[in-house]
Amino acid sequence: MSTFYESITGGLQGLYERAWESHGMLVLDLLPANLTTVVARLKDDYGCALFLDVTAIDYPERKPRFEVVYHFLCPAQMQRIRLKLGVEEHAAELPTLTGSYGAARYMEREVHDMYGIRFTGNADLRPILLYEGFEGHPLRKDYAMEHEQPIVPYRK
């Protein structure tokens, strides 16, 4: 593990459950309650200025059902960090990161669209890739591939 990654795992001790390196990227497994603190520390103390991505993975048979995955980039070191959080289906909520990163605004909307995970504090969770009135969350595994609900009826 690089010294930069070691300084993060050392400095954030106690805020994450598990840390490991996967294909050259530091992965931190953490509890939703620690998300805001960890992200603020990563941004302020370790210079992770770029919020790259947020997405989720659906494991219908597991508990918690969803795994939300964040990617960050520290431009000074050009190193990436992945955060993973388990989210329960009945309380599919996470705090928003729009306070720290403007870029989170759109990407959280997409995860909300696709998986139905709410980001509390994100004032704008309107559909983004889908449309108002769309039923269900298409990237959940129980949404059938063949299921169609076009906004404009198909032409005969």
Partner: protein, 403 residues
Amino acid sequence: MQYRPPVSSPLQHTAHPDHVVVNIGPSHPATHGTIQIVAEIDGETVVHADVHCGYLHRGFEKEAEHHTYHNIIPYTDRLNYCSAMNNNFAYAEAVEKALGIELTPRCIWLRTLLAEYNRIADHCTCIAASVMEMGGMTAFLYLMTVRDYIFEHMNHLSGARLTYSYVRIGGLARDLPDGWLVRLEEILTFTEGYLERIHGMLDRNRIFIGRTRDVAAMTPEHALNWGYTGPILRSTGLAMDLRKDNPYLAYPELDFEVPVGIKGDNYDRYYVRMREIDESIAMVRQCIERLPGGPINVDDPRVVLPEKELVYNQIESLIHHFKLVMDGVQVPAGEVYTAHEAPNGELGFYLVSDGSGRPYKLHVRAPSFVHMGGMHTLLEGHQVSDIVPTFGSMNMVGGECDR
């Protein structure tokens, strides 16, 4: 049938009574992409802007979960369809990383060459479209000429003008056709000639400067906060380029510069792209010179189809071929994120495999989508007429943005 917008904008209700709410798009002659901008305007000044995308959403990620790894390649073409090679290679690298495959030297150099060659076409398209929307018809036609020469040349290589599907896991579809590199040099020379004309027409053109200089300027901090990468981030003066900072393919061995801008306005974005085309041309030439011989596909039965001759004559090879086509490449369980410097910025593929022949999850970190998330900050405070050049300089590609 009554028209109902897919997503209603709160500006309809929150706008100041003296202001006007205008709607631009999703299909508008002044925007080259299916995007909708709802703007609250005070006179000619944009006070608030609400950018909607999703009109080209095709469920790429859902489709990917139901296809074998090779079958996903044509879908990746349709992300940024102006530079399908870059998408192809970024996706293939994610799968190869998960499989632990080392590419052959010829494949590495050929992929680098094609990625840079396709970048030229993408940047030409971006500049052409945004200049055309400002009324610069000649520059548009010149750049489209260059772009079409490149597309025709790519067609010779792959059989398609835009959607190449030229990559294979562990290699490429086929080697270069005879005479392809000779024609490549001709096109590069031709492109250089045309770029000079573009510089002559635009760089010091008063109308062009008036519409682009100091319009939608931003600081590096602002750009990072809103997730901007690629030429847009570099136009603010930050020399961040994955080809230099996280080198992949043959980039560590290439000699090239990272052009940056001064203040991150529309003019800088135009100029950074023009300079990147120069660098790409130089990189393609270095690749031609140093292109090694040898096979283009790895010698790995897990991913590469056996020779047709053997498939027809040996039962083992026939079964092998059948298994690879029907069950797909078996990628070991795990997760991987790869990022390539696509013409628009950081194109990331996040792949989660459960050990089967189909991805459990494939997520695309599409630069256009992220860029659209911050575009309202660049529109607000400027004129209605500035929406068009600003949007043009973002190079939003619907296929990539909406996936």
